[in-house]
Symmetry: C2
Subunit: 183 residues, 2 copies
Amino acid sequence: MVERIIDAARASFARNGWAGTTLRGVAREVDVDPALLHYYFSSKEELLDASTRPPDAWLDSIATTNSVPLRERGEAIVRNVIWGWNQPEISEVLGSILMTAAHEPRTREKLRAFVTASLLPAIADRIEGEERLLRASLVATQVIGLVMMRWVWEIEPIASLPEDELVALVAPNIQRYLTGRLS
Amino acid sequence: MVERIIDAARASFARNGWAGTTLRGVAREVDVDPALLHYYFSSKEELLDASTRPPDAWLDSIATTNSVPLRERGEAIVRNVIWGWNQPEISEVLGSILMTAAHEPRTREKLRAFVTASLLPAIADRIEGEERLLRASLVATQVIGLVMMRWVWEIEPIASLPEDELVALVAPNIQRYLTGRLS
């Protein structure tokens, strides 16, 4: 029940944004009494929080990726991105966050806070030197553009590239950001 | 007048998507008679086309960038992206296209068609070998992720990086996609 509410809310935020989503509309969508929905989520903020929370399975996979030795981390990161977007329950949530954040200032703020406070430090955790956060954010530029081109916009020839080929093409660039000379 | 209509329509598509934008609403926004707006744009499709057309100045700058010798093209591409996002009349339109495309299937389809039919072939135009389109689409993954991180989401430390530093950091990766050994 709560899962169905969250799924419907996530779809509505992605499609209609913050302004176009109402507790009442989501309740109608999943055919529950608005009072019952209110029992679970007392405000639209709470509903947005719940529906844009990064999946635990994805956070776990990032932690695992970060324990791979640094010299193989570039390949591990690309393989983890591919793995994540092959899991429907992960790709659906992440895709909705990207879509909502693109046109919804509150979600963009949440995305920015999450990336800045959690994701970049997590990636930077096992990188050495003062440039840790810079290196992590450069990795993020490559990963996000790859995600947009291959999975969100599905632009060829990137969209249909075999997975091993994709790894061979992109991993060296990520590896440079992780361990290469930057200046 | 037509410019004001297009600007208002662009903002509405970016914020409210296809379904949430009406000719009547745009007419109200710019305070013109709906009949007059209809005189310029007979359908919502026409209005979407007009408001998501890539700026000529940007297309020109891509053509200029593609005439830079291939061995310096990586740096030229990063400098051109920075230049474009520093022009308000370019960054506003491109930003709206990205935001609209993120949650609006029609715009995503237009974006896909434009990238596939015009942008990638333009970038690939002066690249040698069979892998031209693949190389161009890899360049696009890096450029798009950089744009999202630095200008759309404004995530640090990428957002505030001095321009020359950004060029030094990212250009070598783009250069590898252009001229490096891919497999």
